[in-house]
Amino acid sequence: MRARFVVGKILGSLATLAFVLAVNFFLFRVVNDDPTGSLFRGRNLSPDQIQRRREQFNLTGTKFEQFLAYLRQTARGNLGDSFLSNRPVTTEIMEAVWPTLLLVGTATVLAMLVGIPLGIHAGWKRRSRFDAASTSFSMFTYSVPDFWLGMILLAVFAVGLGWFPTGGFEDAGSNATGVAALLDQLHHMALPALTLMLAYIGEYVIVMRSSILDTLNEDYLQLARAKGLRDADVRRRHAVPNALLPVVSLTALNFGFVLSGAIAVEAIFSWPGLGQATLEAIRGPDFPMLQGLFLVFSIAAILANLIADLLYAHLDPRVGGR
Amino acid sequence: MSELLRLAGVHVTYQSSGRSGVVRAVDGIDLTVDRGEVLALVGESGCGKTTLIRAIIGLEPMTSGSIVFDGATVATGQRELRRLRRRVQMIFQDPTGALNPRATIYEAVAEGIRIHGLAGPEPELVATALAQAGLRPPERYMPRFPHEVSGGQRQRVLIAGAMVLGPQLLLADEPVASLDASVRGEILALMRVLVDTTGISIVAVTHDLGLAWNIADRIAVMYLGRIVEVGDAEEVLADPLHPYTKALLSVVPEADRMEQQILVGETPDPANVPSGCRFHPRCPLVASGEAERLGIIDRCRSVDVQLVASPGGRRSVACHAVRLPNDG
């Protein structure tokens, strides 16, 4: 990869970040011209208190000055204080990141590990019974709202059969440590992770399958067969490496949505992550928190996008100016 | 015969998006085409032959130089171009791609009539053009879509669509390269008939010297954006003077052939034109030491060579080693 290509991609990501920051600022402070009115709708605040809030949230001066103040603050890692808890947004978010990362990360990896081989197999044996079954399954899970799937699983396996807890990260009041605590967390994570995995799997199957189908008619597969390779080796050595390229970037992009991907599902399972935090912020409404969450979600996506581009260029010799 | 088209000092260069900057696709072309003449423009891919004819009809912007068509200098404004494009028409290598898959053959042929607002009953004009291009009876072809007829017939549709405007010059970009061998001759015969019956001129771009032998009155050989030899087709093919023309002619596969003169190396790159005579790195005269013996090797390497006309003006060659015979 040429340095110029990498630098170009990084600069592009920075431009996107600047755009996100601008959107984040203007959405909250320009669409609602004087946010204090709507932000504190229904609260009894004296004019004096309102003025103090205004200063606290950099609502004095021109819009541009406010924007600069916002940028300065954000650069220092200060995202303001939550309306609901009065604690710094940064702290709140930091606490909620880990559970989300654990849950959605696990589900994404599992969905990938199951979905990609399914898609490869379905594409390679196109029009077989296996293909029909796995494609219908994928289309179905793709059409199901993830949180409703969670509700069904919750109703059946937690409430009905009682095999799993109905929510949370670990048993309340439990002070188990070590392996016992880990098992407890896994027990709690099983249902939400299964829900997300089922919700994600379809996309991997469909994309991987169509990517394999694209390579099926390539002449180099014919040549590989003519060389005397086994069917399985033609697939493994020639079809899959090419077909994986688009899926690799899909995967990298999906990791960008790890933080923001499970908002509704976390709510169903009372999973104490960023999704739950988002839901609470919506209900508040807790605008500093929402703003902070949006920024974090966006940064994750921008990073993932950058990684996807670089990874693609690394894997595909035709990209990246080599 | 009188002159229809005169190109003087035509250059087409672009900024290459990659490394080396400037691509000199067409690098100074002087050429004339007479009325009722078929000129074959031959050369390897990348020699600029297609770019040149696209520049004539304004599909490629000319960087410098002038085009005189039918006695008047061609201006580059939209309106002038449009007027020119009625009198100059073009057909393409890939007739399948050149026809909109969603338009019927009738619509494809009528498109030019509509664009230029030609007078006369449209269906009859279309029918005449189709019949002239050998698609008879025309009403059988009119309602069909391009994918419903064969490749050769598609090329005939393109010819009909061009001829319906009554042009004076037809530019043909590799007109038979994508067609089957048996169809090739039919299309070439049609082109020759059009010239003989309507007096149109044709400039045919090709890599196929056989095409030139089949239909061309004159031939111009291009190498890296320049013409290296031009003259009467029969003379040039019977007695090529430029070493590049000789090499091209020697590799035409034939059962009883002359000594093959296979040039080494790749097709030349217009982004990277050699100094001196642009052909010298591949020139057999240089490689064999012949140029050295003639004492011109330094000029080959450092002096850019110009096209020199014979005293009679019928033959021109751009080579330090060639002295033209007097052809009176």
Binding site: M139, P145, F147, L154, A155 | I57, A98, P138, F145
Partner: protein, 306 residues
């Protein structure tokens, strides 16, 4: 050539178009999966249209339902049971289809309109227009879609039109990219060169060559955009961002969950709405894929070559 003199290009062209249209229809008919999708869809659309006759609107009001039993399982009076306020779940299901479909269609119209305009102008004009529009598109594409929708919906007032606006504004970029790519492909086609060589003006080229060859793709992307819009509406409604005065399937799910339907095993409350969403989304996807295979010029050219 009396045949030729009476030849009417317009009539002939229309006859050909009709024929290729009916060819398409008959090909679609043979696609059994797509036809199932279509039938399901038509069923739901009819239900949405005749909702006022199927179930009086009063069934949705807690005040009008005050005398009904609460948490009542399905019975003859209440085919899908009642909720925690005694309202008929069946009424909510019927009326909910209206909102889901309306939002799905309206947001799609917005998405496709913005996406097509951006895609076609970027693709056709190229240069600066393209650079600016595509930068903007890329930015929107990178920002995670749901959080942006949530933030927008949270900032705006809660109304069905704002939901439509939010979905439209957040989901156009992928359409724009798709259509731009197709415009660029069509632009490099030889027939556009030929039209230029014939002396055609820009408007002529756009109207005669670019649009007809991009339109099928636009139509195909419509059917694939609707399911996304419906699912997004459902999620936003579930997160409490829906219009409080309108019943949608997402809102039913939110209320069911909030009222504890799962803990009470009141499956009749949350199951129908979810199933409705799945049915409509799946039907659209199946029909859309069938339509895409017939309309998408890329797929068609592939097929023709083999």
């Amino acid at each position: 050539m009396s045949d030729v003199a009476s030849y009417s290009p317009r009539t002939a062209a229309w006859a050909r178009r009709r024929r290729s249209f009916s060819d398409g229809i008959s090909r679609l008919r043979k696609d059994r999966v797509a036809m199932i999708g279509l039938v399901v869809l038509v069923g739901f659309v009819i239900m949405a249209l005749i909702a006022p006759w199927m179930s009086p609107r009063g069934g949705l009001s807690a005040v009008d339902s005050i005398n009904n039993p609460t948490w009542h399982p399905p019975s003859r009076d209440f085919p899908l049971g009642t909720d925690h306020l005694g309202r008929s779940v069946a009424a909510q299901f019927v009326w909910g289809s209206r909102v889901s479909l309306l939002v799905g269609f309206a947001a799609t119209v917005l998405t496709i309109t913005i996406g097509s305009l951006v895609g076609i102008s970027a693709g056709f004009f190229g240069g600066w227009t393209d650079a600016v529009l595509m930068r903007l598109t890329d930015w929107f594409l990178v920002i995670p879609f749901l959080p942006l929708a949530i933030v927008l919906a949270a900032v705006l007032d809660r109304s069905i039109w704002n939901i439509i606006l939010v979905i439209g504004v957040t989901s156009w970029p992928s359409t724009a990219r798709l259509i731009r790519a197709q415009v660029l492909t069509v632009k490099t086609r030889l027939y556009v060169d030929r039209a230029r060589a014939l002396g055609a003006s820009r408007p002529h080229i756009v109207a005669r060559h670019i649009l007809p060859n991009v339109a099928p793709l636009i139509l195909a992307s419509v059917t694939l955009a609707v399911p996304i819009a419906i699912l997004t509406e459902t999620t936003l409604a579930f997160l409490g961002l829906a219009d409080p005065t309108q019943n949608s399937w997402g809102k039913t799910l939110e209320e069911a969950f909030g009222a504890g339907a799962i803990g009470r095993n009141a499956w009749w409350y949350h199951f129908p709405a979810g199933l409705g969403i799945v049915a409509v989304v799946l039907a659209f996807t199946l029909f859309g894929r069938g339509l895409e295979e017939i309309l998408d010029p890329r797929l068609r050219e592939e097929g023709a070559r083999r």
